[in-house]
Symmetry: C2
Subunit: 274 residues, 2 copies
């Protein structure tokens, strides 16, 4: 029996990452959409594109529904070949380049995009160096060199510091360190001593006690560490510290890593490096 | 004096990440483009959008060049407000939704996208769990539980294993471990013993001797470890191992983390989780 929901193809001569993000954003606007998504990256030869056309046509036959295809193929010949598929093709270059060319007042070229390629090796090296920095300065592991951090995330154990630092490093080459807040800090009501001289780089993470409890339970079930009371106590003390020292902070409970990263960069005034 | 190259704004009610990627891809097609890029994320109230309109108009005045604006605002009222800016506005929803609605044969809604929000908390937790997995199984740190890995990257020291594993975890919730190949393995001409039972999950990374030399020099200048001869020897031995054991591998020298990740997932047959 035909699968009446149909197939959505994402076709790229590179990774297809940009196009996947775009499609994901666009389909949020279709509540009822139940299309199977197929990503075909690295289609950089006519032979590979011809194979993709056969796959698209076969899916259309099997589904009994015209496939929808998003494409970011750059080369004219490739795009023409893809157009022979029996499908509705959305070509992002064709969609934007002519009017963008008009808006910029300059012609466009037709070579393969490098937006997710290694491009400038200096940029690539900066990202890898930032990841190594985040790993070296994870969880307060090291003090020497902490002054090189673009920012230092602080918060209680399991509030999301490490993934956020790694994301900032990986995507934006931001050198992000993180430092745990512990019982000792709370008892004294003070910031950890080593952080005092980096006040302007500090940013706090907080989280709801309920979610923290659930995260910690997975790690150490039934422990004091994971108990709702302990989670509530630590979070309240951490927020008191942030407020008392005028450290900006954000609640990570219902926010994705991407949103955290963008908001933190914006509030700390760290620019996005690429 | 007016800055004749002009400004390119990226306007979003969420992070703006998708739009940034799209713009980055599109501008690769304009070699001569020298527009300053300004990203304004989280514009989710009329007050914030009105402020953005003023900023756009001011930039146009100062540059003496009509600003170009990419927008992924979802709500009708917000989009209408943005259109009052004195600029060339590219609205990705307006661009795609009507014809996409036609292609899908269903209406579209008008609520704020969640493509980079926390969305399904289960997915978010899987990404964070995968990052923790990658950290726990970095550089052969742990054997117990290695069988849970979706894939295991192997290669010589500094061939790019760690950033690739972290990227796979962060973006695709893939549980990626990595394991170093050392002198001992090469002398014996064998795979590290603990890996033998996970043969089907192994994937090799290699790199040019010249680039490896430069990377290692930064870490330990003038060392044997970093010497061109040592780098050449290790890489040749690693590639012999990959070939001898029919382990798929990829050269990371001129490939970005994104490209590595996508190609590895495709070749190992690991699906992209979101």
């Amino acid at each position: 029996m035909a699968n009446s929901s149909g197939t959505l193809f994402i076709i790229s001569d590179r990774t297809g990452i940009t196009l996947e993000h775009l499609v994901r954003t666009l389909v949020t606007q279709f509540d009822e959409l139940r299309r199977e998504r197929v990503v075909l990256p690295f289609l950089d030869t006519p032979v590979k594109i011809a194979a993709a056309v056969r796959e698209i046509d076969a899916a259309g036959q099997e589904d009994g529904v015209l496939p929808v295809v998003f494409s970011s193929l750059v080369e004219e010949a490739s795009r023409a070949l893809l157009q022979t598929a029996n499908a509705r093709v959305f070509d992002i270059f064709e969609t934007f380049l002519p009017s963008l060319s008009d808006a910029f007042g300059m012609p466009y070229v037709g070579h393969i995009g490098r937006s997710h390629g290694i491009g400038d090796p200096g940029k690539y090296d900066r990202r890898v160096a930032a990841v190594n920095f985040a790993l070296n300065f994870d969880d307060g592991a090291r003090l020497r060199g902490l002054g090189d951090a673009d920012l230092i995330l602080i918060g209680v154990s399991r509030s999301g510091k490490t993934p956020t630092c790694l994301y900032l490093a990986m995507q934006y080459a931001v050198r992000a360190a993180n430092f745990p807040l512990t019982e000792d800090d709370f008892l004294l009501g003070k910031l950890p001593g080593p952080l005092l001289e980096y006040r302007s780089s500090l940013f706090g993470l907080t989280i709801s006690a309920d979610r923290l409890h659930r995260i910690r339970e997975e790690r150490r079930p039934g422990s004091d560490y994971a108990s709702p009371g302990q989670c509530r106590k630590e979070i309240a003390a951490a927020e008191d510290l942030f407020q008392g020292h005028a450290i900006p902070y954000i609640d990570s409970t219902t926010v994705s890593i991407e949103e955290l990263a963008i908001e933190i960069m914006q509030r700390v005034g760290v620019s996005r490096h690429y």
